[in-house]
Structure formats: C-alpha cells, structure tokens
C-alpha cells in the first residue's frame, strides 16, 4: 500500500470538513463552567468551557456577545449554543458560540443581579447620594407612557390629594429596546428645564422582560446623575428594578409614587392649623401667666395693706421705747435708794448732831479753824453752837501744852 502523505494543512482541512458535515456538532447545546475568561480588545470573548473531566476552547464573537444581558465571568455555569470547528493555525478544535444563557436561573435574572452588584459597589445606591424629596413641589415632571395605567393612577391620586399642582408629562416608551434611552433623555430634559423640582419615573406592572428598560445601566446612571430628585414607581409592589435602587425614593407602585411625591394638601393644612392653634394657646398662656403674676403681686400685703409694711418696725419702736422707759425708771429708783441711803449716812455724820451735844465750831471768814496758827490775835471769828452763832474776838492763843 502506497503511503499517502498529507501536509498539515491538508489533514487539518480534512478533519475540519468531517466536522463540518456532522449535523450534531454544527448545531449543538453544551453546558459547562466558564474558565480562563478573556474579553479581548477586539470585542471577541475567549474562554474555556469545562466540567469535571474535560475542557473545550470556546469563542464568542463580538456580534453575538453584545447581545448578552449578563456578564461572563470565571466559574459561571452556562448553557451555550453553537458549532464546533477547527482553528487551523493552531490545529485546535473550538466551540463557536452564538447564544448563551446562565444555567439554572434566567439570563435576565442573572443580568439583574450582576448589574445590581456592580452599581452597588460603585455606590450608586448609597443613601448619602439620595436627594431630599421636597415637601411642596411646585412642578412635578412625570416620565412615563402617556397612555398607560401608570399615568392614570398618578393623576387620580394627585387630583385627590392636591388638586392645584403643576404637572409636566414627558411621554416615553416604557418597554422594548428603545425604552431605556428614551427614559434617560426624558430625565435629562426635565433636569435641563430648571423649573422642575421633582421627577416621577413610572410604569405599570409587567413581566421581567417588560420591565427590563428599568434595569438598564444607562437609566440607572441617568437617575443617579439627576440633580432633580427622582421617585420611582415601577410595576407592582413585588417588582424591584435597578431604577428603584438608584432612585432617591422608591415607591412600590405608580399610585404610591404620586402619594409620596405630594403630601396631602389636607395634611399640610392640618399641620399649619395645628401650629397656629398652639401658637395662640402658647401666647395666651404666656399672657395668662403674666397676668397671674401681676395679680399675685397686687394681692401681696404691701399693696393690699401698706401699713403692714412697717408694722414690724412700729412694733420694734414700741418695744424699744418701752424698754427705755423701764430702764429709766429702774435707774431712777436705784438712784433714789442710793440717795436715801447716803442721806441717812450723811445725817448721822452731820456736825449739827455734835453741836447738839455741846460742841461748837469756830470759823474765820467761813473757814473752819482747827489750829491756833490759823488766827491772829484781834481777829473776829464766828462760833457756831447748837442754836445759833456767836461773834467773838481772839484775845489770846496758846499751844495745847500751855493750856489754861
């Protein structure tokens, strides 16, 4: 048997043709786990699909992978559709993928989870970025379908709660490929106007596919970048969209969005009225309080019986004068006694008593003579006796030792 020698190219092409003719490998679903994922700058995606025992190289061209709602990453279990062929320059066979979805959960669900995680990491849902909803918006912009249930619900709630308010509707598609871009432009337009102080972004209920525009990244960023506060009211209570997470306030339904957007006029009026009543009452209280203080002062004794103001002093004065009288009397009495005592004493010592006993007192010019040296012979002296005076003349004088 003659040897048939192939070139590398020939045999590669031969094998490639065999594969190309096989109906199975040209229209095949393969499940596996992504590894060695690489998103090339050309836009094509290169990775390996593997399971416990085997691996296969895979490629997903830009034209196909741009349709993916979710992000590919290592470890992700997927189900992919495509065909298997040989890449001649390297002689390897490859799985050329044209469609892929996550294994287990749906692609949209996964895309939602992935975008949510990504934006959350970026801080788009962070409460610090939330704008405050104004209490009394002057003009509200509503981005929604002009024909849907949402706008009807919103208008009916506003009519009920606050009839005199200004609304501007920005009509957009709310489902389908074009919707998210229109919603973005609507929000941007309302921001550019400068007279809108609140935006309601709304849509009635629907399937996850219907609500999908509200899960798009461009809308999330437009809401985040809106300087006018945005309230989202999308779908039913159980529906959560990415837009809800980024919005400054999430309402469970369009009606609820309207309710959150405008405080009930009645409630605001009640609040004002309540304040007005409390104001009157408080100032009334204040005045009553002062009047009471004034009345209290007027009732005080000073004003009621002013004489009592000095009653204490009067009493004190009385007391003092009484004490003064008493002490003067006492003093007087004690002096009287002293006088009587001294008087008695004086009486007993009086020379008159001595005179009565026969003694006399001689004096010269009123001065009692008690020595011979005090008189001169010839001088006139007075001699006092019991019953009168005798005038005499000094005839002689002699000392005691020469007494007559």
């Amino acid at each position: 048997m003659e040897k048939k020698i192939f070139t590398v190219t020939e045999i590669t092409k031969y094998l490639k043709d065999i594969l190309a003719q096989d109906p199975l490998v040209n229209n095949i679903w393969i499940s596996g786990e992504i590894s060695n994922f690489h998103h090339h700058s050309s836009g094509h995606m290169y990775f390996t699909l593997k399971d416990q025992n085997s691996a296969i190289s895979a490629i997903m061209f830009k034209g196909y992978n741009s349709q993916l709602k979710f992000q590919l990453e290592d470890g992700l279990k997927v189900i992919a559709h495509g065909y298997i062929s040989i890449y001649e320059p390297r002689g390897t066979y490859q799985f050329y993928i044209d469609f892929m979805e996550p294994a287990g959960k749906g692609a949209l669900y996964l895309a939602f989870e992935q975008l949510k995680e990504k934006l959350e990491k970026e801080g788009l849902f962070d409460p610090v970025h939330k704008n405050k909803i104004p209490l009394l918006p002057k003009k509200i912009g509503i981005v929604t379908s002009p024909t849907g249930a949402a706008i009807r619900d919103i208008l009916s709630v506003i009519q009920r709660r606050f009839p005199n308010i200004s609304l501007l509707i920005v009509p957009t598609l709310v489902q389908g490929e074009m919707a998210s871009e229109q919603l973005v432009k609507g929000i941007e337009y309302l921001n550019s106007r400068g007279d809108i102080d609140l935006i309601i972004l709304s849509r009635g209920g629907g399937s996850i596919e219907d609500l999908w525009p509200f899960n798009e990244e461009n809308l999330a960023r437009a809401i985040y970048n809106s300087s006018v506060p945005v309230i989202s009211g999308i779908g039913h209570e159980t529906d959560f969209t990415i837009a809800d997470f980024v919005a400054d306030l999430r309402a469970p339904t369009p009606s609820a969005a309207a309710e959150l957007a405008i405080s009930s006029r009645l409630e605001l009026e009640k609040r004002i009225e309540n304040s007005r009543e409390r104001l009157s009452y408080a100032i009334g209280n204040k005045i009553r309080e002062y009047r009471k203080r004034l009345e209290g002062l007027m009732e005080r004794r000073v004003f009621a019986r002013p004489e009592e103001l000095f009653s204490k002093e009067i009493q004190q004065l009385d007391d003092l004068s009484r004490r003064l009288e008493w002490s003067m009397e006492k003093e007087l009495n004690s002096r009287k006694e002293e006088f009587q005592f001294l008087n008695g004493k004086l009486e007993s010592l009086s020379p008159l008593k001595t005179l009565a006993r026969g003694y006399s007192i001689s004096s010269l010019q009123g001065k009692i003579i008690d020595s011979i040296d005090e008189v001169e012979i010839g001088q006139e002296i007075q001699i006092r006796v019991k019953d009168g005076q005798i005038k005499g003349k000094v005839l002689n004088k002699m000392p005691a030792e020469q007494e007559f």
Partner: protein, 81 residues
C-alpha cells in the same frame, strides 16, 4: 419680609420650631410676643404658598429625540386608551 426668601418647607419647619420655643416657655414677655408675631407671619406665608400652587397638567411634544425642539400642550384625558 425675610419669610419671602424661605420656601414652604423651611417656613413650615421654622413655624414648628417657633411654636415649640414658645411652648417651652422661660422667655421674656417681649421675646414671646416677638416669636408669636413671627409665627403668625409664617402661618400666613405657608397658607399662601399652599394656595399659590397652580393646577396645570401638560405634556411635552418633542419634535426630535434630543428635546431640542419641544412644544408643551395641555394634557387631556382623551389621549388615554
């Protein structure tokens, strides 16, 4: 009047603050009357703001995708389904 520069929300907040301050008491009669007067002005202002809002429902008709040329017209129920 300084109250004119406030917006409704600030005025309402200030009003409630004034009421509280007045209720807490401990103020002089003069200060109390001053606060009372301010409160009365705020009440008037808030009521006026509530009534000033205008009922108007309009819709934007855009001539191009980028809103470079728009027309604002009244929104009527006839446009609903």
């Amino acid at each position: 009047m300084t109250e004119k520069q406030l917006d409704f929300e600030e005025a309402l907040a200030r009003l409630e603050e004034v009421v509280k301050e007045l209720e807490d008491g401990g103020l002089s009669l003069e200060k109390s009357l001053e606060l009372f007067e301010e409160g009365v002005k705020l009440v008037k202002f808030c009521k006026l703001e509530l009534d000033q809002a205008e009922r108007k429902i309009e819709i934007v008709l855009k001539k191009d995708e980028d809103y470079n040329d728009v027309e604002i017209v009244p929104f009527t129920a006839e446009e609903e389904d």
